[in-house]
């Protein structure tokens, strides 16, 4: 398992007119892992993925995927030979049949696995001779997944892969992604479904308003991140909390809630010395962390 980053960006920025979709993004995705890419609608996830794959050009900054520069057309073409991608829309050519679409895609990749193609065709129960435009949304999603998963790419990038799938298919998809990682593929997927990310991801990157707000392994989140609820007898005093250890501080009446990244003991000690009457520390779920990060980033971004 390689520990070199398969995706690395420096100051990556994308501007559409006056809107800055991605801001100074410094992203590092290590190989051999499943990395969940979380963010709200319009957070900049798809824009980032499009820049990584050479579909749109960065306004500023640069990036490398599998050691190749993303904004060099030839390097981008080479890297795409090693990357499988499932786009948010999952649209393929409506005028082709399922079998034609598979044959078309197969012709571009050396890492195609006919055995996986057969297995997935059977598993997804795709009607081979039906035109893509006549497939249901779920079926189209399955076809797009088949075209990506029937290969053995070094990197699998999926944009909202489970959207439009039924629960059984989602389960199969998640198993496939774990299986792909076991075979050496790095998986990088964006999702709104925090429970899915929590189930299979090793690492999480959260984006909000184009900025990276969380970049941590799931183990580190479970181990180190804590919510500290502090109660005061009167109005909470202004307190000098250790800035490097906290993600956010919210005050509600006599209650202060702190989202701590680490060093909870120091926060607890500081709370008691400030006159706290009760201090309670609890583990943080990915959902809580996501909502907190998004809320913090939104308040930091201010009104637009």
């Amino acid at each position: 398992m390689t520990q070199e980053p398969v995706i690395e960006t420096t100051g990556l920025t994308k501007r559409y007119g006056h809107v800055e979709a991605v801001k100074q993004l410094a992203l590092r995705v290590r190989g051999g892992r499943i990395t969940g890419f979380l963010g709200r609608n319009g957070a900049g996830k798809s824009s980032t993925i499009k820049m990584l794959l050479g579909m749109s050009h960065p306004t500023a900054g640069t990036g490398r995927v599998l050691g190749r520069t993303i904004d060099d057309p030839r390097a981008s073409r080479d890297l795409r030979a090693h990357v499988a991608y499932v786009a948010e829309d999952k649209q393929t050519y409506g005028y082709m049949t399922v079998v034609e679409m598979i044959a078309f895609t197969r012709s571009f990749y050396k890492d195609w696995r006919p055995d996986a193609e057969r297995r997935l065709l059977e598993q997804f129960e795709l009607p081979r001779s039906r035109k893509v435009k006549a497939l249901s949304k779920g079926m189209r999603t399955k076809l797009a997944l088949l075209l990506a998963l029937a290969r053995r790419p070094e990197l699998l990038i999926l944009d909202e892969p489970s959207e439009g799938l039924d629960p059984v298919s989602i389960e199969e998809l998640l198993r496939s992604l774990v299986g792909a990682t076991a075979e050496g593929t790095t998986v990088f997927f964006s999702s709104h479904q925090i429970s899915e990310v929590e189930r299979i991801a090793d690492h999480v990157c959260m984006l909000d308003h184009g900025r990276l707000v969380v970049d941590a392994s799931l183990d580190a989140i479970r181990r180190d991140y804590r919510r500290v609820d502090i109660g005061f007898a009167e109005r909470p005093p202004d307190c000098d909390w250790p800035a490097d250890a906290i993600s956010s501080v919210r005050t509600n009446g006599r209650q202060v809630t702190i989202m701590a990244r680490h060093n909870v003991d120091a926060i607890v000690e500081r709370a008691y010395s400030a006159g706290a009457v009760s201090v309670e520390s609890s583990a943080v779920s990915l959902r809580e962390l996501f909502l907190d990060s998004v809320a913090s980033a939104t308040s930091a971004a201010g009104p637009t």
Binding site: M55, A87, D89, Y95
Partner: protein, 262 residues
Amino acid sequence: MLFYKAWRESRIRFLMCAGAVTLLCVMVLVRARTQFPVPNNPNIPYTAFVWVNTFAGPVIGGNAVGFTYMALLLGLGGLQRERSARTSPFTLALPLTRSRLVATRALVGVLELIVIAAIPVVLIPTLSPWIAGRPYPVEQAALHTSLFLAWGTVWYAVGLCWSIVLSGEFAPVIACVLTPIGYMIAMVNVARLFGGSAISDSASPAFAAANFMYFMSGIGQMSPPNSGLFAGPLPWTAFTSLACVTLSLVALAATVTARQDF
């Protein structure tokens, strides 16, 4: 397989155009059977009858305009169209450069145009003895067709450029409809500045080549005049110039595509 994709995406337009040209050729021969010799002008040779109805049109250059719009129609499609159909992410994720995507599309389009232009070359000389009861020389059909093709590829490349520059379903189509009209208006006015008529004046070889209706009709190549017989050498300078314009437009299309965001 990229050629297959380009073919599948354009084949309905191609078949429509090929069908229209086939119908035109058959109708010309059926008319020749019943209306030739022309009652009020029995001295018109059969070659002139075929030329007027197939290559020139009732208004000289009219059929050239028809072929122009076919070429423009074939040039439509591509990544902007795919963006509307939301298939562009799939295409752009393939391990291909955008230049190759454009070049493949251009090549398939020009081949389709050649096939459409070849229909009169095959059909008229072959069917003329059967339907009209008169022979028509295959080399005459080929020479007239070469003029159609030279400007046809330019118009194809114009369609290709509009399909790349303009997004949406209708904007490229509207641009394609208006471009030949705008071009002819500009030609007429430029010709007036030099004291000539862009529609029928062949005094300047440059104007003759630049006026697509005049050039494609073959009127400047005919001897004796209005005989329908293509005489003299092929206009190689014009062919080369038009080929350069076509290649420049395809290169422009590839450059613009490479810079676009999808």
